[in-house]
């Protein structure tokens, strides 16, 4: 058996063995790289929420009292009411699917398409929508961040 420390330069066998070893190491690397990337946890969210809002989104909520945030494939309306409580509702109007907005002055959610109005609990106050807006869970974090989870509130 060839001793690794003396690789005879003319020995193809030794060269072959070396190449095989390198090949195996390279292959292991090409397998471990995806596996390790896979195992590293992602920063922003768990598999099913909660989703942390980006700083820009949090700033928007502070300035304008609401922001429309994409969570998975849904649009979520995150708003801050007069008392400072954070609410999260589905932003898709149940009438024809337009994106709703929050009117801070009146503590109302309204849809511009056909002048629908909802209260902060998502219930229809006036207009054509047939169903209330689904409500989701939202929480303010200690560091000022906001976290939303698309599970029924």
């Amino acid at each position: 058996m060839t001793d690794e420390t003396h690789v005879p330069t003319t020995s193809r066998r030794g060269l072959l063995d070396l190449l095989l070893r390198l090949g195996v190491v390279a292959w292991l690397g090409s397998v471990l790289y995806p596996v390790i990337s896979y195992l590293r946890p992602l920063p922003r969210q768990g598999p099913t929420g909660p989703v942390g809002l980006t700083r820009a989104e949090v700033a928007k909520v502070e300035r304008e009292k609401f922001a429309i945030v994409p969570v998975g494939s849904k649009r979520v309306l995150v708003l801050e009411d007069a008392e400072g409580t954070i609410h999260a509702l589905d932003a898709r109007c149940t009438h024809e699917g337009c994106t709703v907005r929050f009117l801070p002055g009146e503590d109302l959610i309204s849809c511009a398409c056909h002048n629908a109005q909802f209260d902060l609990g998502g219930r229809v106050l006036s207009g054509p929508p047939p169903r209330p807006l689904p409500r989701y869970v939202a929480q303010r974090q200690d560091d000022g961040g906001i976290v939303v989870s698309v599970t029924p509130a």
Binding site: D17, P34, Y38, L42, P47, T48, T151
Partner: protein, 461 residues
Amino acid sequence: MSESGASSRVMRWLDERYGTSQLADFLRSKEVPIGVHAIYWYYLGGATLFFFVLQILSGMLLLMYYQPGEATSYESIRYITTKVPFGWLIRSIHCWSAHFMIVSLVVHMFSTLMLKAYRPPRELTWVTGYLLFALSLGFGFSGYLLPWNELAFFATAVGTDSVKSVPLVGDWLLNVLRGGPEVTINTLYRFFALHVSILPILTVGLIASHLVFVQRQGMAAPVGEKKAPRGMKFFPNFAMRDLLLWLICLMAIIVLSLLFPYGAGIPGVEWELGTKADPLAPAYPGIKPEWYFLWVYQLLKEFPPHLFGFEGPEVCLLVIAVLLATWALIPWLDRKARRNEPSPGFSDFGVGAIFFLLFLTLKAWDIGGGDGELPDDAAVARTCAWIMVGLAAAVTALRAFLFEHRFFVYSGAALLQAVLNGLFGLSYLLAGGIAGGLAAAVTIAILVGERRGAPSPGETP
């Protein structure tokens, strides 16, 4: 394999404590018989094992992120495939490897059938293998539900429905399997337990016994070889060839995972996530179970609601039970192989089984059924029968000229059933009755003839 100083030191360390040099000697002595065509078949067991290991590894990784639950099953898989780095790859590998494993297992099973590897002293190897086959189907069925999407939900509902026709314990079985009368999230919890815990433990145990049997007894030589076949050393020669094959299989799987991340696009071989399961929604038109269950699904459709005073599905399950029992008992039924004589009857039986399953599977895919709302069953039967005719002609020619087979009774019967059903419009059961009856008659004639000492037809001199 060359040993460096380091590895031989490790071997010595182990040998001092566990006497591993004996094991090493034993392993070095193992041989794989080299017949004329046979060598390639011996790779299949190893390939199946490789795919299973791939399933375990990719499964463990998926388990890190998968969360069973009404609000989390679908969502967590969506998360894995869209957000987790390489999650798409792991999931895709898991799905492709599952299908490859089943294919490999089935081909392995048929090759051991053809080579009569089940003959004594290897009966239990066949039995453990048979059980492994059943467990693999269980893996496939239980795993399919876990994404909790529309496709899986209805496939499971249709699939579990058939167990209620088991006599006496049917309803109990249905409730236990489904965790209730209907498919609900409780079904998923049970299937999850099966898929990641119960089945793996049983499978690993059975694989261990299967391998121990093979290692203890050595590889079976093809039956009827006159002289002791040449052998190739298992370590390192055959083992390295095994590794090479596994490497090529891995390459194939990752290519497929990139190019076809959601499957081949054929019903029963696709796993696009689609929409989440909604128990209140009406069933999916064209819902089909996975491809390896299509034959059962189609066979159940062929039975009328009532037959001979019994419920159709009950009779169907009985027929399937008889077929499966026969398959399990082959090592004991095949007396020729027990005497280490060529057994063309059972080889042909194997081919006949393939034709039988294939015809049903093709029909289940509604090939040739047209574009209407509901497929035209007669047209489907016709098209599939023609496909079978073509295929059977090719296979028979191959067998006759390449392998010099002469016994075609069972494969002929299976083909006859397809032709009677598809080209002559007879009902599947009637066609089966006629073909089966003829085959039975011929079998009895042969057995009687054997008793009287005449040589059986199809025996090669």
